[in-house]
């Protein structure tokens, strides 16, 4: 028994934010460090 889940490729959150004029605000107001996902306690 093996099961496949199809993934759909869609516009990214970054694209949506750009198109709604919100990306600059997001980047200015949030420290952008994708590494902290892997070090929760440090973050």
């Amino acid at each position: 028994t093996t099961y496949k889940v199809s993934l759909t490729r869609k516009k990214s959150l970054r694209q949506n934010l750009i198109e709604n004029g919100k990306l600059k605000d997001f980047l200015q107001n949030h420290q952008y460090n994708i590494g902290s996902k892997y070090f929760p306690s440090e973050a």
């Binding site: 959150l13 590494g35 902290s36």
Partner: protein
Amino acid sequence: TTLMSDEPLQNYLDMEYFGTIGIGTPPQDFTVIFDTGSSNLWVPSIYCFSYACTNHHRFNPQESSTFQGTSKTLSIAYGTGSMTGILGYDTVQVGGISDTNQIFGLSETEPGSFLYYAPFDGILGLAYPSISSSGATPVFDNMWNQGLVSQDLFSVYLSKDDESGSVVQFGGIDSSYYTGTLNWVPISVEGYWQITVDSITMGGEPIACSSGCQAIVDTGTSLLAGPTNAVANIQSYIGASETSYGSMAISCSSINSLPDIVFTINGIQYPVPPTAYILQSQGSCSSGFQGMNIPTASGELWILGDIFIRQYYTVFDRANNQVGLAPVA
């Protein structure tokens, strides 16, 4: 039980691959990221009144005959705010599997109003249970514990071009998605899907990881991420410069002149061509490398996100704690 774990939602900023799951009886559908870089399943709930939730599907436990509530709460603090909520049990439909008695988070607050624009509702984590917030059993562990899949592994194929065609396969491997043979790499630390990389070279020259380093294979991160300094070197070598959008712009013509960047893992070379590490969108190009700050004590760490997985069909083997890699077909 409330257990804070902090993940930044930034990793999901460039995510493009999403799947649909159903939760409850009858199933309520949600669009989720299948994320090998985390271990919890959570979706917005009707108890969430954040701005972000108004634009997403919200789980209503009163409309599910199989829902069981708990007194446990969940808090996953993102760099941009916290997803807080309660934990409950219900049946989760994933690709034809009825994953009964699955624990999941029902969010009451969402990490940041900007999530209003997110193309996904929630996250389905596929990393090890050891990093799961509140000790919640991850979806794939629950599937395996209940004997729902025949092999204790799952595999990921990410299509380069089409909107469709990408697949997460639970309990099996499909050889039509790759060429040659799968090379197996032992997991170095069971938590994330973490492996050891021998070196990273460009045009035959070492550019990072010169004495070996660690890497996490993460479907929940779109780019190739590494230490800020090493990535800054790569950005300058490939001629990328920062834009006001936070991305690194690069001339599209570089695609024809730049060399492969080669990750050597367990003695095998995994070249990533410029067609992969230079992202093209609406006529402009940007670098697929992203610098990240991590605690120095952790040593050099790289994140092999979707850019890498689009090149290499990946098997996440829990039975043998190893990752299988082969060039996509």
